[in-house]
């Protein structure tokens, strides 16, 4: 009877030891999984917000407005129109950007105590020195937009025609903004006669902190001046500003 009791005690101690050793990594794995599940909602939301922002920047915001935002954020635009112009502006406050219809791209969540709230109102934003942000499940997702001028130099075939035979007999390379005499130069002014670069790189950075880890994600797209690039100077058509 005593021998049996001793075996049972050893058995129980062994079982408890195995249980303790096995449960530690298993608990860690489970905790990691549930932490991740908890943040899925936030990650979906920042992805959707980022996509909405970029779609609006490409389709709803005029080129003049993005250039205004660049100037507002310290890009002087001294070399605008030159091939050397790689002017860049980091925009932390996205709440001032307007669409063509005058709506705010990121409407601010007014009257909110940012320190106390867990979630910002759907579609609404707050601003801090780290960027424009929203809160989801207590996590703040900070958005910053970097706009960079990309000067371009397009090429194409300039056809050489035999008028009598009505045939194309050859072609020449041509390029824009060339200093070579006799080659065509494409205008880099808008319909208001203002000199502009016609292409911008838009980089949207999203940063947040999750369980002590600093995480980030980014999108890159490009915006062209399809509003009035190369248009003849005519103030009557200048309606975007």
């Amino acid at each position: 009877m005593m021998g049996n009791k001793a075996v049972t005690l050893v058995e129980i101690l062994l079982a408890v030891t195995i249980l303790a050793l096995a449960l530690v990594p298993m608990a860690g794995g489970l905790l990691s999984y549930f932490k991740r599940v908890n943040t899925i909602e936030g990650s979906l939301d920042y992805t959707h917000r980022a996509q909405n922002l970029l779609n609006d920047l490409l389709n709803e915001v005029s080129y003049k407005e993005t250039q205004r935002v660049m100037t507002e954020n310290g890009c002087s635009g001294e070399n605008v129109g030159a091939l050397s112009d790689h002017g860049k502006a980091v925009v932390k406050n996205l709440t001032t950007i307007k669409t063509r219809e005058g709506k705010l791209l990121c409407p601010p969540d007014t009257g909110l105590n940012a320190d106390q709230t867990t979630n910002t109102e759907k579609g609404k934003w707050l601003v801090s020195d780290k960027g424009t942000y929203f809160k989801m499940n207590g996590v703040s997702y900070y958005f910053t937009l970097t706009i960079t001028n990309i000067p371009l130099q397009f090429h194409w075939k300039q056809y050489v025609l035999d008028v009598h035979r009505k045939e194309v007999v050859g072609w020449l390379d041509a390029c824009t903004r060339s200093n070579v005499p006799g080659k065509p130069d494409v205008k880099t002014t808008d319909s208001g006669g203002v000199k502009r670069d016609m292409f911008q790189q838009l980089t949207l950075d999203i940063r947040w902190q999750e369980y002590g880890r600093n995480l980030s994600y980014s999108f890159v797209t490009f915006k062209a001046n399809l509003d009035d690039a190369n248009d003849t100077h005519d103030n009557s058509t200048d309606s975007d500003s």
Binding site: I12, A15, A22, I150, W156, V168, V186, V220, F222, D231
Partner: protein
């Protein structure tokens, strides 16, 4: 009493086995979920690179509209180049400029290939010096490595004298990442194992002066 002796260890082992099974299941789901998440993130990035490519193609058409129309005319075989009417009997000798005739839509669209779209491409690498060349297209600095290329540019409606033209642009873009080797967004390149990228097709109506 004796009947229950020696039961503690088997019970604990069975319990641990059950918990292990659950953890392994969750780990497998988690791994699939993580991979899907990475592919989705690269998919989103590729989409917005491709949207940038479409902007570049439309900008070129808008900035050099006459040359764009000439290229369309040249493809079509008849029409107006430099304000003169032409009818080209032999298109084959011009194919190095224009590429192959589009057999899928021989009448409905004017397809621009070759020279006009050759430079409409971009390579983005972190730390790259921004530049633009006829051969390489656009080289830019960015937060991740990616690229786009315009594969197709067509004028669907040609309204000379009317200001709007309808243009169809097809672009391909991708993030070049070792994380998605074998996890294709748009199929896998057999040589490199990298995903073939995202195809984006957009139709725009823009004003060509």
């Amino acid at each position: 009493m004796k009947k229950n002796q020696g039961m503690a260890l088997p019970i604990v082992l069975m319990f641990i086995f059950a918990v292990f099974a659950i953890v392994f299941y969750i780990a497998a789901v988690h791994k699939q979920d993580k991979t899907a998440h990475i592919v989705a993130r690269e998919h989103y990035r590729a989409i917005y690179l491709a949207k940038g490519a479409v902007q570049l193609a439309l900008l070129k058409a808008r900035m050099v509209p006459q040359e764009f129309r000439d290229a369309c005319t040249f493809w079509d075989g008849h029409g107006t180049i430099e304000n003169m009417s032409h009818n080209f009997g032999n298109l084959e000798k011009h194919q190095d400029v224009l590429g192959q005739r589009d057999s899928e839509s021989p009448v409905a669209a004017w397809k621009v290939e070759g020279e006009f779209i050759r430079e409409l491409q971009m390579m983005m690498t972190p730390g790259a010096s921004p530049s633009w060349s006829h051969e390489k297209g656009l080289v830019v600095d960015g937060p991740f490595t990616g690229e786009f290329v315009i594969t197709d540019l067509k004028m669907l409606t040609r309204r000379i004298g009317v200001r709007n033209d309808t243009i169809k642009v097809i672009a391909r873009a991708r993030e070049i990442s070792e994380m998605t080797v074998g996890q294709a967004i748009g199929g896998v390149d057999k040589g490199t194992g990298l995903n073939l990228g995202q195809k984006l097709e957009e139709i725009h109506e823009i004003i060509l002066k």
